[in-house]
């Protein structure tokens, strides 16, 4: 039940289903992180500050009327793009990638901002376009999507780039992209695969994909992560080894246990039963989003809820698929669970906006 608590001169907008499930998920995340970081209290305290701040942010961002986001969406995307450029120039370089902008008290991964700004902007651009979306608007939208994708991709950050790209495509698709266009472009993409392979993928990305197809080609290189992750998950069995008992994580066999591969830690310690319970929370959140989208007050809200929830779902599935080895390693956190600042906050922001879209009703005065 989405709520509008009305007081004398102002109202509070709040969806308790999303709020409670996200809070629970975040708290479980802290609990898992404590084990994944091998009992490092500092990491957990830092993360709980982010969680607290994130929940607060989610609450705040659900208060403005959707029109606020609609009106300022162009401003958001411009700011987000400027931040991307700033990252390109002033960004901190880590392992050959420039993804972070240092604000002194906080390093911001700017691609996380654009991941949210792009769907909102596209929703505000497309919400009043007649069905099906004309070729002209389709191309304008695609151009923007590709431009933003390229900005992220060139950092380089293929994982987030793909999520951003998918976010744009979801909006375009949900807004009513013509089926004719979909099938034609799909055919063209399949035909141009070899070209993309040769010209747009870095050698290490190609290697990752090749390793994914044939893991034995690179036993101690990039597939080491996947092999260890599979061992961690598989050795968890039906009921797991017990909290903080996972040898794969605690003896450092599992790489990136606090971030990308935290799911493997959970699977090792809590088994198949544990992850089914955990995933049911995610499942619930996504179902709730469908319900909210369907009942949203207008097309802009629908598109935004649909788009942002699909960004969330995509991130989750890319992470899960990567950890169990059904897609290549691209570097993608598990929402609300993995350690991280920007990526964690971005989902609280996204859900804040979703709640705003879902809870504000249009006054039927006209």
């Amino acid at each position: 039940m989405k709520k509008k608590l009305t007081f004398k001169n102002f109202s509070i907008y709040f969806d308790q289903y999303l709020f409670i499930s996200i809070t629970l998920l975040s708290v479980m995340g802290l609990f898992f992180l404590y084990s994944a970081s091998q009992g490092d209290l500092n990491t957990v305290i830092k993360q709980s500050i982010f969680v607290g701040f994130g929940l607060f942010l989610m609450f705040i961002l659900s208060q403005p009327d959707p029109d606020f986001y609609k009106i300022f969406s162009s401003l958001f995307i411009v700011i987000a793009i400027l931040l991307m450029f700033a990252t390109m120039i002033f960004g901190r370089e880590v392992n050959g990638a420039k993804r972070w902008l240092n604000f002194g008290f906080f390093t911001l991964q700017t691609s996380e901002i654009i991941k949210i700004a792009l769907p909102i902007f596209l929703a505000s651009y497309l919400y009043n376009k007649p069905l099906p979306i004309s070729l002209k608007h389709t191309f304008i939208t695609l151009a923007l999507i590709c431009f933003v994708f390229y900005l992220v991709y060139s950092q380089p950050d293929l994982g987030t780039g793909l999520v951003v790209f998918m976010a744009g495509i979801y909006i375009l698709f949900l807004a009513g992209l013509s089926w004719k266009f979909i099938f034609t472009s799909f055919g063209l993409i399949v035909l141009s695969m070899p070209f993309l392979w040769n010209n747009f993928l870095e050698p290490f990305q190609r290697q990752r994909i090749l390793t994914f197809i044939d893991p034995s080609s690179d036993p101690f290189g990039s597939s080491w992560n996947i092999t260890q992750s599979k061992i961690a998950i598989g050795s968890g069995g039906m009921s797991g080894k017990g909290y903080q008992e996972g040898s794969q994580a605690h003896l450092n066999f599992l790489p990136e246990a606090e971030t990308d591969f935290i799911f493997a830690v959970i699977a090792e310690e809590f088994g198949f039963i544990g992850i089914c319970l955990l995933l049911s929370f995610f499942f619930f959140i996504l179902l709730r989003c469908i319900y909210l989208a369907f009942n949203a007050r207008d097309r802009f809200c629908r598109l935004t809820i649909g788009g942002l929830s699909l960004v969330f779902a995509s991130t989750l599935f890319i992470n899960l698929g990567m950890v169990v080895g059904i897609i290549p390693v691209v570097g993608m956190p598990m929402p609300f669970i993995s350690k991280g600042g920007s990526s964690l906050l971005s989902f609280y922001i996204a859900f804040g906006i979703i709640i705003s879209m879902a809870t504000h009703k249009k006054l039927m005065q006209k």
Partner: protein, 612 residues
């Protein structure tokens, strides 16, 4: 304003499309769940095993090697625990930087520095430990422990060194141990049902395997069985905790028949001359002394030697590593004569009364070729007894001339020539008992009568090792019965090697022994100078191996200017007579006189065994 119809169509389209996306995600999710289910439930066992294998490392624990004793229970080879400074070579980037950091704490001499520098790369490549310095003093240990934090990749640990109490005395008999090479490791692991070759590579160090001599022959017994420690390790291979410790089974001690005193006497008597001494206890066929000189220190070889010192040994012209006792091939020369004499009697070619005139040479009737004796003018009228005592070549030339070559070869092989005579010697050479087939195959010539004549005085193609000569001496002493030689009493599967002689009786043997006693005791004996060296009777036969054939003494004087051309001195002996207990053979390369140069060595060894 959008009209209501259009708005309804839009809402329906949105919902349909959202469902399409979610159905797609549903498929992805099902696939994911299926994958997780198969990892965690269907393939659980495999992954559980993999996780355990990941975190478990086995380290083999070396058993202590068996001790080697001499016949009286004195220790020849022991294990000495030493505190060694050990380096994990693969974790060190620059060995020179390490050594210069180490130099104020632990001093290394130039040999040790050379050893470390030379072996560093190899040890690093194979992830093995490198022993920087052995046998640290208490002071050095204390100094290192205080500053040990500076050297995370080095540590001090107890290692057992193989220590020979008589390092040069037993270098060929007992041999030495060394590090394990990969082939050897494989066979050890197979024999102990330990297949974890990789584990061994990473962690096992300080393993020793017998490389030569008894250390090699009895390696299986001496080395015992490896124990193991099972550790939990983290991803970097660091030990987290010990889980299980299976104790090693120490090697069994080896009680040999060697006699330290006789060995020492033999070694001292050889005085670094090139040659070999082998002494046998006749009743048991056991080896009591086994010396090849010049020698080297087995302790240096076993426990690490710099390549400079090692190369010096390798390049030494006297070839100290060469085991002359079982691998040196020498013509038996006149020492063959007792066997030829027995052949003559057995085959009724001669008897003890038969005599010939010895003009100092023998002319082969076929081609008029002249075969000379060692004494110009000859020995006059010689019967078999005198021919043995004065070592008349003419007598034996003519005896061999009348012999059937194939029968003669079979006869000689019964005395150990061209055969393996030792059950547990390291790599014994069979030397060469030439046959007509051998000559045809190897030299592409048929067998000449002259070859048979040469065989009669132990020259020509025939060769034997000092070990074979000692065995031959034992067979002669024991009147044709003998066992395979061995370094331990009551060795299993030892062969009886009795000779079947039908036409030779005890009296013939006694007369043969008597003639060999005459070699020393007779005033005309070739080894008469040995008379005063002992207080009991000894039977012997000396020999002088011609390396360069000369017709006159003057010619020999010229060629002997070059030491390498001088004759080899050789003797076989056994005593005390008439009931001999020990048999001995001595070869001294370029020693010139069997009787007066090799003889005293043989007598001194017998003295030490018999106790004068």
């Amino acid at each position: 304003m959008i009209d209501l119809n259009e708005r309804y169509a839009e809402k329906k389209s949105f919902f349909n499309r959202l469902v399409v996306v979610y159905v797609f995600f549903g498929f992805v999710f099902s696939f994911f769940l299926y994958q997780t289910y198969s990892l965690q439930v269907s393939e659980y066992k495999d992954y559980e095993t993999a996780a355990i294998a990941n975190k478990t490392k086995e380290v083999l624990v070396q058993p202590v090697r068996g001790i080697i004793y001499d016949r009286s229970g004195k220790i020849i080879v022991n294990n000495v625990p030493t505190y060694d400074l050990i380096l994990k070579a693969s974790l060190i980037k620059s060995i020179d930087a390490f050594l210069s950091d180490l130099s104020p704490i632990i001093e290394l001499d130039s040999d040790e520095l050379d050893y470390v520098r030379e072996n560093f790369d190899l040890k690093a490549r194979y992830n093995r430990e490198l022993i920087v310095k052995k046998n640290l003093s208490r002071e050095e240990i204390a100094k290192f422990e205080v500053r040990g934090y500076k050297f995370p990749n080095a540590f001090i640990d107890v290692r057992y060194s193989r220590y020979n109490n008589y390092p040069e005395l037993f270098s060929h008999a007992v041999g030495y141990v060394g590090g394990v090479n990969n082939d050897e490791l494989d066979s050890i692991l197979n024999s102990q049902a330990l297949p974890q070759i990789e584990t061994i590579f990473k962690y096992s160090n300080g393993f020793q395997i017998g490389k030569t001599g008894l250390e090699s022959t009895y390696d299986q017994i001496l080395r015992g069985k490896f124990g193991k420690k099972i550790f939990e390790v983290d991803a970097r291979g660091r030990f987290v905790e010990e889980r299980e410790f299976i104790k090693p089974k120490n090697g069994e001690n080896l009680f040999t028949t060697l006699d330290i005193k006789a060995q020492q006497v033999a070694y001292d008597q050889m005085d670094n001359r090139r040659g070999a001494v082998v002494a046998i206890e006749i009743d048991s066929g056991s080896i009591v002394s086994y010396v090849s000189t010049p020698s080297f220190s087995t302790n240096a070889i076993s426990n690490g030697i710099s390549s400079r010192a090692f190369n010096a040994l390798i390049q030494d012209n006297d070839k100290p590593f060469f085991d002359r006792a079982s691998q040196g091939r020498y013509s038996p020369a006149s020492t063959i004569k007792p066997a030829i004499a027995l052949f003559g009697i057995e085959n009724n070619i001669i008897d003890w009364d038969f005599s010939i005139e010895d003009p100092g040479y023998f002319i082969l009737p076929e081609d008029q070729r002249v075969y000379r004796g060692w004494k110009k003018g000859g020995h006059g009228n010689v019967n078999l007894n005198k021919a043995m005592i004065v070592s008349s070549n003419t007598f034996f030339f003519s005896l061999a001339y009348k012999s059937d070559i194939n029968k003669l070869i079979e006869h000689l092989s019964n005395f150990g020539f061209g055969t393996k005579v030792c059950a547990d010697c390291f790599n014994p050479d069979k030397a060469l008992l030439p046959t007509p087939e051998w000559k045809m195959n190897n030299l592409n010539f048929g067998w000449f009568k002259g070859d048979t004549v040469n065989l009669g005085v132990g020259q020509g193609y025939l060769s034997a090792t000092p070990l074979q000569l000692a065995y031959y001496s034992t067979v002669l002493a024991n009147k044709g019965t003998s066992k395979e030689l061995s370094f331990i009493y009551e060795k299993q599967d030892i062969k009886d090697l009795n000779i079947q002689l039908n036409n030779t009786d005890d009296l013939d043997w006694k007369r043969l022994h008597q003639s060999m006693i005459g070699v020393i005791e007779s005033p005309i004996g070739t080894a008469k100078r040995l008379q005063e060296l002992k207080t009991y009777t000894v039977a012997a036969k000396s020999g002088t191996v011609e390396l360069v054939s000369t017709d006159t003494k003057e010619d020999y004087k010229i060629i002997r200017e070059n030491e390498g051309n001088r004759d080899h001195a050789i003797i076989i002996a056994f005593g005390p007579m008439p009931n001999p207990k020990y048999a001995v053979s001595v070869v001294i390369e370029n020693g010139e006189s069997g009787g007066s140069v090799a003889g005293p060595v043989a007598i001194e060894v017998l003295n030490s065994l018999i106790g004068k």
